[in-house]
């Protein structure tokens, strides 16, 4: 233990604890909310295919309804840009895949570093744009709380430290890598406590909207 480096800690107990808190927290919050349970709806359904309606809503809510398209174009476009850039950067960077392979036992093809660099920069740019909008748009500023800013911060830092490690810029590579890993661990620990949890809640939330509206014969 005495000789444990920052990188050893980040790769070892730091990661283990972060994953435990992440997993337990996500399950606790998800199951806890769902298990408040709802009564069975006794009204006569107009349509019975609630499973189809639920799955339909999980898909259809990925795009705004016609009447709202123009009004939320910024959120819609930046939302897609952010998530795509993030997922590509996380899932298709060669060193990340090696890490996942060590945990999962299998890997997948990676993308060229130049593309990952580009998506990383795009992700940071979009997130900064979303941060600026949150701080300046009257409605978003008004409804925001600490969670909103913390959640942006804990996602932004791993992206920045990842790029710095990628570029070997600012410190020794081992130190940069350790900081990058630790920042990811902070993000994992925060995940179940804040609104990053939406990544998990999206499916049940949309699904239940789909079944509720579908029962009434309305497309959710």
């Amino acid at each position: 233990m005495e000789n444990m480096t920052l990188l050893d800690f980040a790769r070892g107990p730091g990661l283990q604890w972060a994953l435990w808190i992440f997993t337990f927290g996500v399950v606790w919050r998800l199951v806890g909310a769902i298990f408040l349970l709802a009564r069975k709806d006794l009204s006569k359904p107009r349509r019975h295919n609630s499973l189809v309606a639920g799955i339909g809503a999980v898909i259809s809510r990925s795009a705004p309804a016609h009447a709202f398209e123009k009004k939320i174009r910024f959120q819609h476009v930046t939302g897609y840009a952010w998530h795509f850039a993030l997922f590509i950067s996380v899932l298709f960077f060669a060193p990340h895949i090696l890490f996942f392979e060590s945990v999962l036992g299998f890997g997948w093809p990676h993308l060229p570093n130049a593309i990952i660099l580009l998506t990383g920069v795009i992700a940071i740019g979009v997130l900064v744009a979303l941060l600026i909008r949150r701080a300046t748009h009257p409605v978003q500023r008004f409804i925001s709380n600490a969670d909103d800013y913390i959640s942006i911060f804990v996602v932004l830092v791993p992206l920045i430290t990842g790029l710095l490690a990628f570029a070997h810029f600012g410190a020794r590579y081992e130190t940069l890598l350790a900081i990058h890993l630790l920042s990811v661990e902070v993000m994992l620990i925060w995940f179940p406590f804040g609104k990053l949890m939406h990544a998990v809640m999206t499916v049940p939330a949309r699904f239940q909207a789909g079944t509720a509206f579908g029962r009434r014969g309305v497309k959710a």
Binding site: D41, R61, S144
Partner: protein, 444 residues
């Protein structure tokens, strides 16, 4: 008894009189907060919890709200209107409450006062925000729970409270009871319109509303003529005719359940197969989607709206309508609780098309339709009148842009709100009801 329809001006005078000289209930802040929390706890379930845990604070819902659009005031963002409930959930019921509690402010008496404006005067429960949320959160359902909390805390606006107490204690609204209905039915009989009042057994039981009886008796007469023409075995009961439910509007469960039970009990006693709802969006929502759950068992009869009944009768050949050939165009205004929250969207359009009318849609239509501006009982409140008028102007703009000759709707409250808005702004658009349009075009 006078059966002349009340003029819109007289009805507005009646509402104004209700607003004057009514004082609030004398409860301590501590009591109010305790009652609100109890109601929140009773109404929170897994569905609401998943919703409350899913909000991204993206603020898109503001873009769907007519009150925000009309004012650009951020406090009218729907996400903020249910913030009170979210705070309660996070502090008291969330699986993460042990973490959130130190960082989440408790509900105060001042909060309840602030939210009375937000959820009663600045929300018609139209549910348009439900349609824009990328997470699928049923925002209007969460706001409705806030209304429940405020109702329990004694914060139902005084005008609504008068109506609620009247319905609960006297089974009347605006003083309209059995005698008034009987007098109106006698008047119809004198005009040759047969209304089988108070039959003990019937396949179909028609309901009406005090607003119809007072302001739009022609709509009730139209329903009678349509049912007679379709050869229905029907009745309307003078002891259970009121479809409007002030309980659901105010968030007062005991009154809602009592009003539902009066209807359900009578329909069962009469062996009714179909409960036919008049032109009232919230009444349809109450009986079609809430009644079984409130009674704790499935209903023994179907609950059907007039557009559904007419469209089905046409399809079965039991009703034939005259086709207009003069190119008259109409725009159908979807009542929120009939269309977006009820699934009755296509049927009224089919009925209008069956009369050969040129149906022109507004830019936002069907499930995305703008509210009339005064639903969910808002029309009785004096305090929100300016705000309602601003919301109405959005509706008016879309209706003007549709370019039709007239507006037709399937809800007496929408019709009245549109007429009040038109009256305030000098808008000349003819506004009428679907059933009256149908009754005027019944084929011989």
């Amino acid at each position: 008894m006078n059966t002349e329809p009340m003029s819109l001006q007289d009805f507005r005078g009646l509402l104004t009189n209700m607003c004057e000289g009514v004082s609030g209930r004398d409860l301590s802040d501590e009591d109010r907060v305790r009652r609100a929390k109890k109601a929140f706890a009773q109404k929170l379930n897994g569905h609401r919890a998943v919703d409350l845990d899913s909000c991204l604070h993206c603020g898109m819902c503001a873009e769907a709200c007519h009150f925000y659009e009309a004012t650009q005031d951020e406090k009218y963002a729907p996400v903020y209107k249910y913030r009170l409930l979210r705070r309660f959930y996070r502090r008291e019921m969330s699986p993460m409450r042990w973490f959130y509690r130190p960082f989440t402010r408790d509900i105060s008496g001042a909060d309840l006062k602030e939210w009375q404006h937000l959820v009663y005067e600045a929300c018609t429960g139209c549910g348009r925000c439900d349609m824009i949320c990328p997470m699928g959160i049923k925002i209007s359902a969460a706001i409705r729970v806030v209304r429940h909390g405020l109702a329990a805390a004694g914060y139902v606006p005084p005008e609504m409270r008068i109506l609620r107490d009247e319905q609960r204690d006297q089974n009347t609204q605006f003083g309209v009871g059995a005698e008034k209905l009987k007098a109106l039915v006698a008047e119809f009989s004198a005009q040759g319109i047969d209304v089988p009042l108070d039959r003990d057994q019937a396949d179909v039981m028609l309901l009406t509303t005090a607003v119809e009886v007072l302001l739009f008796p022609d709509a009730l007469a139209a329903n009678a003529r349509i049912l007679n023409k379709a050869g229905a075995d029907w009745t309307i009961r003078s002891d259970a005719f009121e479809a409007a439910n002030v309980g659901i509007i105010t968030g007062d469960d005991p009154t809602m359940d009592l009003a539902i039970k009066r209807i359900v009990d009578k329909a069962k006693a009469c062996g009714v197969k179909t409960l036919l709802m008049p032109e009232s969006g919230h009444a349809y929502q109450t009986m079609r989607w809430e009644a079984a759950n409130e009674m704790g068992e499935p209903l023994t009869f179907d609950v059907v709206s007039m557009p559904e009944f007419i469209s089905s009768a046409i399809a079965k050949g039991r009703l034939t309508l005259n086709k207009q050939s003069n190119g008259t165009s109409v725009t159908y205004h979807d009542p929120c609780r009939l269309s977006r929250k009820g699934g009755v969207t296509q049927q009224p359009r089919d009925v209008l098309a069956a009369m050969g009318l040129d149906v022109r849609e507004t830019a936002s239509t069907g499930r995305e339709n703008y509210c009339c501006g005064g639903g969910c009982g808002e029309y009785v409140m004096c305090k929100g009148a300016d705000l309602r008028q601003k919301a109405f102007e959005i509706k008016r703009r879309e209706l003007d842009e549709a370019g039709a000759d007239a507006v037709v709707t399937g809800c007496a409250n929408c019709r009245m709100n549109l007429m009040i808005g038109a009256d305030n702004s000098g808008w000349q658009m003819p506004i009428t009801s679907l059933v009256e349009t149908v009754a005027a075009n019944l084929a011989d």
